[in-house]
């Protein structure tokens, strides 16, 4: 007994002198920094890519990052108020987008889509947002509200179940085929911005995402509903005592998340014109990564996380890996995106804009 406790005390002293965790972290960060810098320098030295190439990679990254950011808002809002991860959010995104596809197809068939592109786009945004909102609200009512008092693992499992349920329900509705969103002619081609040629669709998506993010920010900061949401996130019981209708606030949160997801879907299909029942999965996972990266629960964090992730995914594989002579670097893109997730969880569990010590996620 005595020898045991002595040796364990010695061990503890040793640990205090050489904190293993911190040592590993320092070595790890030095290695990563070295790899990134060496790769970048080596890539730039090859001279393979012109400035125009980098700009086009960057704008593609900004555009896809903007979509991640808007979807990530849905994760972050729900987490901020209920502290659950709504893994079915990717399917909420799919539901609206896929439904709006049929409207888009009908409009394109009549030639209306290209004759009146802006009213058509607005109609698509409305349809997609309304459907996604309805799905999100039903999801909350059926899958999450009955579990509100349950341990946090329970709604998480439910979320995964709900996600599969929605995927296969919509497969039943709309079929398993990949469908192409009809192109809108005025969004095809490139425009010149500051001397660089940028795809019009990417510009539209970025502007659309900024508008959506800013509207949400104003709702949260400047309206009664926003104040109620923040209060419920702070402390549900006290908020209820202060006369806030908690149920209605939570439903509104889901509804706002759904509207954003539906709108993000219409932006998404301007970049990648395909819809099918599984389309929500990867954007959902990436947006979740973005939300964690930025600090889940933080609205600014979701925006920054989405952009950082999108840009790193687009530019990263080529910039960091080409220099090492790695063949097909783009196939390794998930290593970049999920590597970032792992690194953030190691070094800053609360995310870029979360409290540093927060380890709730």
């Amino acid at each position: 007994m005595t020898t045991n406790s002595t040796s364990s005390r010695n061990y503890r002293v040793l640990l205090e002198r050489f904190p293993v965790r911190r040592t590993i972290l320092i070595v790890l960060s030095v290695l990563i920094a070295y790899g990134v810098i060496a790769g970048t320098v080596a890539t730039l030295q090859t001279g393979r890519f012109t400035t125009a190439d980098w700009v086009s990679l960057f704008t593609a990254g900004v555009a896809r990052g903007s979509v991640y950011a808007i979807i990530a808002l849905g994760y972050t809002l729900v987490y901020g108020i209920l502290f659950i991860i709504n893994f079915a959010h990717g399917e909420v995104f799919m539901a609206g987008t896929f439904t709006a596809f049929f409207i888009a197809q009908a409009l394109a068939g009549q030639g209306i889509l290209n004759e009146y592109p802006i009213p058509s786009l607005i109609l698509l945004f409305v349809v997609s947002s309304v459907v996604s909102m309805a799905v999100a609200v039903i999801l909350e009512r059926v899958a999450y509200r009955p579990l509100r008092g349950a341990p946090r693992l329970v709604p998480l499992i439910t979320a995964i179940g709900a996600s599969l349920f929605l995927e296969y329900t919509f497969r039943g509705f709309y079929g398993a085929q990949v469908r192409a969103y009809p192109n809108i002619d005025i969004l095809q081609g490139n425009i010149i911005i500051a001397g660089f040629s940028v795809q019009k669709a990417q510009v539209l998506v970025t502007i659309g995402a900024v508008i959506l993010w800013f509207s949400l920010f104003m709702v949260i900061e400047r309206t009664k509903l926003g104040r109620a949401m923040r209060a419920v996130g702070e402390d549900r019981e006290i908020a209820a005592l202060m006369g806030i209708n908690v149920d209605r606030t939570i439903v509104s949160t889901f509804a706002i998340g759904g509207v954003l997801a539906g709108a993000a879907g219409i932006l998404f299909v301007q970049l990648f014109n395909s819809v099918f029942f599984f389309m929500g999965f990867f954007p959902g996972i990436k947006a979740f990564t973005a939300a964690v990266l930025g600090g889940i629960g933080s609205i600014t964090g979701a925006a920054v996380g989405g952009l950082v992730l999108g840009i790193l995914e687009a530019v990263g594989p080529i910039l960091f890996l080409t220099g090492f002579g790695i063949p097909s670097p783009n196939q390794l893109q998930p290593i970049i995106s999920f590597g970032i997730l792992v690194l953030v969880l190691i070094f800053r569990p609360g995310g870029l804009f979360g409290a540093p010590d927060e380890e709730r996620a």
């Binding site: 393979r48 890519f49 012109t50 190439d53 086009s56 990679l57 593609a60 990254g61 896809r64 398993a176 085929q177 990949v178 469908r179 192409a180 969103y181 009809p182 192109n183 095809q188 081609g189 490139n190 040629s197 795809q199 669709a201 970049l271 990648f272 014109n273 395909s274 099918f276 599984f278 389309m279 999965f281 990867f282 954007p283 995914e313 687009a314 530019v315 594989p317 080529i318 080409t322 063949p327 097909s328 670097p329 783009n330 196939q331 893109q333 998930p334």
Partner: protein, 429 residues
């Protein structure tokens, strides 16, 4: 510790079950000596019971048109068996026994192939399997699972070269589809000689089909004198291919070959149209995208002008009259117009299997014994079997299509055209 003990008991239980099962089999005792001699024994089909075949094709998801097309070919072949090509809506019989089909989904992935193959192989009554659709579901997965159990598997649409290559070929695996060493070379000849292009880039998705095919293409294109600027790879399930296309566009290749599948193939087709450096590049894919679903996924205006290669349905060298006058009308009546290009290969695969079963099955009273290794040997002994697609002769590596005509078609107004190029290729062996 506790857990490990549990596992040990489980293992013991498993062994006991096997022993008991083995004793049970031995107890029957009346099986003919061919079954005793056969390494994998016999499938015993009792009086009044049906002979069970399996199918393992991709019947759901974005690539379902590929698998369903083959599935329908299999169903029609079972229907027409024994009735001289008449479709009466009921499956034919072998020596007085019905033939039934158990279908699983290969998911067009290694995971799907593993799950489906294990499920079928668990049924000891399954005699042979038609599948898989995608090479990724077969290579090292379904081909091995079935071979380990002595179940013959004949694929109507796997074209990946590795499946029948020395070293990776599994003993019970055969195919009626062409080998991509024919198809890749045909596409390279088309690009270099017919179109007169000198630089090319390729994209694959990591699947044995796409990787194998683009490699054959690249090797042939290089040996013709062309330059392959880049061989890129993408992730299945990704949606943004701007980075990879931008990377490829830095070399401005004249020909961009991406022999992948429907979802990613559609997206690359769209996105390549928006990349300025690829504005003059000719785009091309292969039979994984040879379906209207890919045109729908890409959008007709983007798909127009893309070249797609596949088996040339117009130059089948087998029973062409039957194909055009009987098979296609029957298919169309029952399932609508074919959505992909491997229904005839599926028909041939099924007929090969049925013929082989018929030749090796041993009747003992009303009971039928089908020795597994003998069935495999009968399949490999196939020589000069006249199917729809041609005269089938199975090589020791499992390739039953010693030569094949590959057609290249293009897309016009959202529909595939007739072949713009066609080339007869032969497997060198």
């Amino acid at each position: 510790m506790k857990n490990r003990n549990g596992l040990r008991y489980l293992a013991l239980l498993g062994v006991l079950t096997l022993v008991i099962a083995a004793c049970g089999d031995g107890g029957g005792g009346s099986a003919p000596e061919e079954c005793e001699a056969d390494e994998f024994g016999c499938v015993e089909v009792a009086a009044g019971e049906a002979i069970k075949l399996g199918s393992l094709l991709v019947t759901t998801g974005p690539n379902s048109s590929l698998g369903l097309d083959s599935q329908y070919g299999v169903e029609l072949a079972l229907d027409a068996w024994g009735t001289e090509g008449e479709f009466d809506g009921t499956n034919g019989q072998i020596k007085g026994h019905d033939v039934t089909l158990t279908s699983e989904d290969d998911g067009c992935s290694a995971d799907g192939g593993t799950a489906g193959a294990n499920k079928l192989a668990a049924d000891s009554q399954i005699v042979a399997v038609i599948g898989t659709s995608c090479s990724s579901a077969a290579l090292g997965v379904a081909d091995k699972i079935f071979s380990d159990k002595g179940i013959s598997i004949v694929s109507p649409s796997n074209t990946g070269p590795a499946l029948t290559a020395e070293g990776t070929h599994q003993p019970f695996y055969l195919r009626t589809a062409h080998n991509d060493s024919i198809q890749g070379a045909a596409v390279a000849n088309f690009a270099y000689t017919e179109l007169g292009l000198r630089t090319a880039a390729t994209i694959h998705d990591g699947s044995p089909y796409a990787d194998g095919l683009q490699q054959v293409f690249a090797d042939t294109f290089t040996s013709l004198g062309g330059t392959v600027t880049k061989q890129e790879a993408i992730q299945v399930g990704d949606t943004d291919f701007n980075p990879v296309l931008t990377d490829i566009a830095t070399d401005a290749p004249e020909f961009l070959y991406f022999p992948i599948f429907v979802a990613e193939g559609g997206l690359i087709t769209q996105q390549a149209r928006a990349i300025e450096g690829l504005a003059d590049s000719v785009l091309a894919g292969s039979d994984g995208m040879f379906t209207q679903d890919w045109i729908d996924a890409a959008g007709a205006e983007n798909a127009d002008g893309v070249y797609i290669s596949g088996p040339d349905l117009a130059s089948f060298s087998g029973d062409v009259d039957f194909y055009n006058d009987v098979f296609i009308p029957a298919y169309t009546e029952k399932y609508g117009a074919p959505q992909s290009v491997f229904h005839a290969h599926a028909w041939d695969a099924t007929n090969l299997v049925l013929t082989a079963i018929d030749s090796v099955a041993i009747e003992d009273g009303d009971t039928l014994y089908i020795p597994r290794t003998a069935l495999k040997d009968a399949l490999y002994a196939t020589s000069g079997f006249v199917g729809i697609t041609g005269s089938l002769t199975c090589a020791t590596t499992g390739d039953c299509q010693p030569s094949a005509t590959i057609a290249v078609v293009t897309v016009e107004g959202g529909a595939f055209t007739e072949a713009v190029y066609s080339e007869l290729g032969t497997l060198d062996s």
